[in-house]
């Protein structure tokens, strides 16, 4: 500051009056972005806004957890392919390398008029642009008999963390020859192939430690993601172990009893020795508190990921209605880059490029038998439209399937570096 002469300073001040499109700059303070949620959407958005603005935007990331365990690859842990610590990440890189102000608290409400976020401590954070990327909340009450109080008996394990470790423990300790019941969620939900990869990984574990164990899938849906590939893989690797029962055959889950471990359907009552129950889902509660939802999810503008309800708020990842993209970590990461580019343009005048999105989901069926599905997308007027897509083929060579698994490991490392480094 001391090196700037009075004349130069006056000139700067006059110049800043000319940039009224960026109001915070004209008052001498940096424009402020608050990001709620430190997952694939939020961590990526915070990192890209901070990194690409080179200090011209003040970015605060609000994330309650000090250590973030990814949902993606939690199934790989369940299958015994890696340890739990390997899917945990901290926010050190964002704070130290990128200069993101990391606040480990819950965001409890948003005042969209005053542009303030209220934290659990009672503190407020003001923003010029707000990114909401809270992931999902579970609708426990959509399954009779299921609740947060009994999730330790029948873990959902759908938000990573201790629930996944608990599920692994229950899989390992299930009685020999017992029955594992899997209840996938109804559409739309986080990670469409996830429940079926999970079944594959549990089957892989049973094959080694409980070869007479059985798995019954009571699906609330009549079909599922990558169905042909999964069913062929189950037939090949785990013949006779897995029974998938369509909603059309069991008529719907009427009740679950966590004490007796019974699942009541029209078809039959199934008794489990261990179970995983994943309820229906909705956008994380803070999205509702901010008023950017329409029902369970948050409509967005396809070209920018801005909320349709408030142009200063962007909603990323699972919480958004990003049709035709699936709810996945890859999708959230892709959406975050479009939003970051748009936010930086609005706050600093940097160039805003056309939105482009992509997604790929890898699923491990058995060791070195990994299938993938993916698509690229463009922003349409009403939705994020598919531009091109691909899916693994039934007649892939075993080399291709093994290469897919190696690719997924490298993707995991690339993705988590892209979020946290």
């Amino acid at each position: 500051m001391s090196k700037i002469s009075r004349r130069a300073f006056t000139g700067l001040a006059a110049a800043s009056v000319g940039t009224l499109a960026f109001p915070s700059i004209s008052f001498g303070a940096l424009p402020k972005v608050v990001v709620i949620g430190g997952g694939a959407g939020g961590a990526t958005a915070a990192r890209y806004i901070a990194k690409d603005s080179g200090g011209a935007v003040h970015v605060t990331l609000v994330e309650a957890s000090k250590r973030y365990y990814t949902c993606f690859f939690s199934n790989i842990y369940l299958g015994g392919f890696r340890n739990y610590a390997s899917i945990g990440h901290n926010y050190y890189g964002l704070a130290v390398n990128q200069g993101v102000n990391v606040v480990h608290e819950w965001a409890v409400s948003v005042d969209a008029v005053a542009r303030k976020v209220k934290l659990g401590s009672g503190e407020h954070l003001s923003y010029d642009k707000l990114v909401i990327s809270p992931g999902i909340d579970l609708k426990y009450d959509k399954i009779n008999g299921y609740s947060a109080a009994v999730q330790d008996k029948m873990p959902h394990a759908w938000k990573s963390g201790t629930q996944v470790q608990l599920l692994r423990n229950q899989v390992m300790n299930m009685k020999q020859g017992g029955t594992f019941v899997m209840v996938p969620p109804p559409n739309p939900y986080r990670c469409p192939p996830g429940p079926y990869e999970r079944v594959s990984m549990i089957a892989h574990q049973f094959k080694q430690s409980n070869p007479t164990g059985k798995i019954v899938i009571l699906d609330p849906k009549p079909k599922f993601s990558k169905q042909g590939l999964f069913e062929a893989g189950w037939q090949k690797h785990y013949p006779g172990m897995i029974e998938w029962i369509s909603s059309e055959d069991h008529g719907g889950l009427k009740n679950v009893n966590a004490s007796t471990m019974e699942f009541e359907t029209d078809l039959d009552t199934f008794k489990a020795d261990a179970a995983c129950v994943v309820p229906a889902q909705r956008a994380g509660a803070i999205a509702m508190a901010a008023g950017v939802n329409n029902g369970d999810w948050c409509p967005i503008v396809p070209a920018s990921m801005q909320s349709q309800a408030d142009e200063n708020i962007y909603v990323l990842g699972d919480a958004s209605v990003a049709k035709s993209m699936p709810k996945s970590g890859f999708s959230a990461n892709s959406q975050a880059k479009v939003a970051a580019n748009h936010i930086r343009g609005a706050l600093t005048g940097s160039k805003v490029f056309d939105a482009r999105y992509s997604n790929t989901c890898w699923s491990l069926i058995a060791p070195d038998d990994d299938v993938k599905v993916g698509a690229s997308y463009v922003a349409g007027a009403e939705a994020i439209d598919v531009e091109s897509k691909f899916i693994s083929q039934a007649d892939d060579t075993s080399e291709t399937r093994a290469a897919n698994y190696q690719e997924s490991i490298d993707w995991y490392n690339g993705m988590t570096a892209d979020m946290f480094s």
Partner: protein
């Protein structure tokens, strides 16, 4: 003198065509655009390099980068993810990506 002019003409002619498709595509590139487009690549390709699965692209020679992307776009190389990614890139976008990644530090 006429001979000299003819030689110069020939040299000029061949130099013009000595610029490969790759070089022409690189010349269309814009580094800022490449940085934006490149955000899609680094979801998978890590700066610190990778094992045998997903190769490093940071610091890759721009002509090699372009040649690979053209091969994926023409479906002459196998990986379906890369065919999809390259399939929607025009020459300007490929040139921009090549310029951007070629000036980054390669993995150690």
């Amino acid at each position: 003198m006429k001979k000299l002019l003819f030689v110069i003409f020939l040299l000029t002619f061949f130099c013009k065509f000595a610029f490969s498709d790759e070089q022409q595509i690189i010349a269309m590139g814009d580094i800022e655009y490449g940085e934006y487009l490149g955000a899609e690549c680094v979801s998978c390709h890590q700066q610190k390099g990778a094992s045998e699965g997903i190769p490093a692209i940071h610091g890759m020679d721009a002509e090699v980068f372009v040649a690979l992307m053209l091969a994926y776009r023409a479906k002459e190389m196998e990986n379906p993810v890369m065919r999809m990614i390259a399939g929607r890139l025009n020459d300007e976008q490929i040139g921009s990506l090549a310029l951007y990644f070629s000036q980054l530090e390669p993995p150690k």
